[in-house]
Symmetry: C2
Subunit: 346 residues, 2 copies
C-alpha cells in the first residue's frame, strides 16, 4: 500500500448512515478520505461538478455500475473494474479516456478500511490509465438494503481523428480478432465465491485496453470497423450483439479461440461454456480482411495482445446469427444466454 | 401516461437476475423498454458508449446516485430526482445541461411496471430540460441485496460564456439569494415514509433549476459569484460548505427565510429544523451587493423564483462559520449536522 489511510480507523471503523447525510461526517469522508486519495485540481474545488477545459473534439461518453460479489477477488477488486470497465468502454468507441466520475452506494457497516483500499486501487488504476477522477458522489443505505459497496463510473473520452468505430460499419469479409485467452475474470470470481480452490490460482484478467486499442487504431485507422469488449455474457454475447446490430452473420472457429488449460478445466468441472463467461481484459476487433494479418501481428507485439488470434469472420449468410465450426468439424449456432449464468460478475 | 409499456407484463412482471446477465433478457429490456422509451439517435446505435459531437466550449461534468426511499413519493418519483438532480448540479456550475447517462441497479423482484413508470418520468423530465439520455447500464442484484431501484445519472453541460461560478469567488459583502420556501422535499418524503398524513398534502419541490439560473446568469454575468443547490443537509449545510470553501463568514436572518406554514408545522411536530431539511428545487446564489436587488427582482419574474428572498450576506468575521440572527433578536451559530437527520432522502 502506497498511502496511509487518513481517517483514524479507531473512531469510526465502518460506514454509518451519517456518512451519507450531507453533514459533518459526509464532509469528513470527502475531505479526509476521497480528496487526498484521488486528488487533482478539478476535485479540490469541492464543487457540485467538475469544470473541464474545452476538449476540442468528438466526445465519447459511457457509464457502468459495478456490483461484483465479492468486491475483493483474485487479481483485483471492484475498484479495478470501476476504472478499467469504463476506460475500456471508451476505448471501444475509439476514444482516449480523459475524465471519470465516481459514485458510491455504501451499505451501513461497510468497513472504512476496505473502502480506503478500493479508493487507493482506483487512484492507482486511474493514474496508470492517464484519467482523472474529477467529480463524485456518496450515498449510504441501511444495513440489509445494499451489499457492501456498489460503484458507478462514468467517463468522457476524446475520439481519435480518422477513426469511425460503429457496429453498422461491420461488413461481410471482415476478420474478427480477439486479443487473448477468455473466461478468466468469470472463473476467478466464481472460484472465490463458491469457495473452490483451483490449484492453478485463477485470476481476473482485468486490464486497461486503451494502450493496445490505440496502437490498433493508429495503424488500422478506418479499416478497424467495430470494437467490443467481451464482458458480461462473454465472447458469445458480444458476437451476437454485433451480428444483430450490423445485420450480418458471424462464423467463428472453435479451435482458434484461446482458453487457458486451467480455465478450461474449471469450466468443465462446473459445466460452463467459456464462450459465455465474462472477461474484463478481452475485446473483439472487426477489421478489413486485407489488413487482418498485419493488425494481428501488431497486436501481438503488445503484452495484452501477445496471444491474439483471428477467431472468425463476417458473412452475408444467416444475418444476426453466430455460428461456430467445432473441433469435430461440425457447425452449430452460438446463441445468446437466455438465463443468467453468473450473476454479479462485474 | 403517454406511453404504453412495450414489455408484455404477463410474461415477466418483475425484474429477474437474468435481466442483468448480459444475455437475451438484458437485450430485451434494452431494446423493448429502454430504447423506445428514451429514444434518441445517440442511444439507438446500441454502442458501449455514446459518440457525441464536439461541444466547443468548457464542460461541466457531474454525477449523482439516487437511493431515495420510497422511490414513489408525493410530487414525484426517483426518476424526477435523477434528471433534476444532475441537471441542477450542472446548472450550479453555470452550465447548460446537454447529455445524461443513466445507470440502474435493480433488485430482483422489482416490478417492471414500476420501472417503466420511472423510465417514462425520466423521458418526460429530460425532454422538458432539453437533455438527452445518451448511454446507459443496468445491473441486477439478488433479492435482499438492494432496495428496489437505485439510479445514477451523470451529466455533461456547456458552461456559459462570461460566467465564472466558483466558491472561491465569494467575497465579503456578497448578498445571498434563495429562490423559494424550503424543506418541502424532505418533509414530503418523511410524510409518506412514516405513514403520516398531513392534511395539506406536502409535495416534493423537485424541479429543473436551469431556466431560472440561465436568466440569472445572462443578466448577472460575472457578478454571480457562486451557486449551490440546497439538497441533502438543507440550506444550513449548503451555506456551511460555501463558507468553508471560500474562507468567509455568512450571516443570515431567520425572518427572511421562507417556509410554508404547513411545512413549518410538520417540522415542529417532528422536531426538525427546516434549515437542515433537503430541498430538490431550491438554490442559493451569492451575488455582488450592487446587483442584488435587481437580480432578486429578475428571479421573481420566474415561476421557480416567485418567492425568492435575500436571506443574508457574506462577512469578513468568523470565516467558515454561518451565524443566524433569530426572530427574537439574538444570534446563533448554524452548524452542519453531525449525525443523520433523514437518511435516503434523495
Amino acid at each position: 500500500m502506497r498511502f496511509q489511510c487518513p481517517i483514524p480507523i479507531q473512531e469510526y471503523d465502518t460506514v454509518t448512515l451519517a456518512h451519507g447525510g450531507g453533514g459533518k461526517l459526509t464532509q469528513r469522508l470527502i475531505r479526509d478520505l476521497f480528496a487526498p486519495t484521488l486528488e487533482n485540481p478539478f476535485l479540490s474545488e469541492l464543487h457540485d461538478g467538475a469544470l473541464l477545459p474545452a476538449p476540442g473534439g468528438r466526445l465519447a461518453f459511457s457509464t457502468d455500475s459495478f456490483v461484483v460479489s465479492p468486491p475483493f477477488f483474485p487479481g483485483g477488486n471492484i475498484g479495478d473494474l470501476a476504472v478499467h470497465g469504463t476506460v475500456n468502454d471508451l476505448a471501444m468507441c475509439g476514444a482516449r479516456p480523459l475524465y471519470l466520475s465516481l459514485s458510491m452506494i455504501l451499505e451501513e457497516g461497510f468497513r472504512l478500511k476496505d473502502l480506503w483500499e478500493i479508493l487507493v486501487t482506483i487512484r492507482e488504476r486511474a493514474e496508470e490509465a492517464g484519467v482523472q477522477v474529477v467529480t463524485g458522489d456518496t450515498k449510504v443505505v441501511e444495513r440489509g438494503k445494499g451489499d457492501g459497496i456498489f460503484l458507478n463510473t462514468t467517463g468522457i473520452g476524446i475520439i481519435l481523428d480518422d477513426v469511425d468505430i460503429r457496429p453498422s460499419r461491420i461488413r461481410p469479409g471482415d476478420r474478427i480478432l480477439l486479443n487473448g485467452p477468455i473466461a478468466e475474470h468469470g472463473m476467478a470470481i466464481l472460484s472465490i465465491r463458491e469457495g473452490l480452490s483451483f490449484e492453478s490460482g485463477l485470476e481476473s484478467d482485468t486490464a486497461n485496453l486503451w494502450p493496445l486499442v490505440q496502437k490498433l487504431l493508429e495503424a488500422g485507422g478506418r479499416d478497424v470497423h467495430a470494437l467490443r469488449d467481451a464482458t458480461r455474457g462473454g465472447v458469445a454475447s458480444a458476437l451476437n450483439e454485433l451480428a444483430q446490430a450490423s445485420g450480418t452473420g458471424v462464423v467463428i472457429q472453435e479451435a482458434s479461440i484461446p482458453v487457458r488449460e486451467d480455465v478450461r478445466g474449471a469450466c468443465e468441472i462446473l459445466g460452463l461454456d467459456p464462450l459465455f463467461v465474462a472477461n474484463e481484459g478481452r475485446f473483439l476487433a472487426f477489421v478489413a480482411p486485407e489488413r487482418a494479418e498485419e493488425l494481428l501481428a501488431l497486436m501481438r507485439t503488445h503484452p495484452l495482445g501477445s496471444e491474439a488470434r483471428i477467431i472468425g469472420e463476417v458473412v452475408e449468410d444467416h444475418p444476426g446469427v453466430v455460428r461456430m465450426e467445432t473441433w469435430l468439424g461440425g457447425s452449430r449456432v452460438v446463441d445468446m444466454l437466455s438465463g443468467e449464468q453468473l450473476p454479479r460478475i462485474c
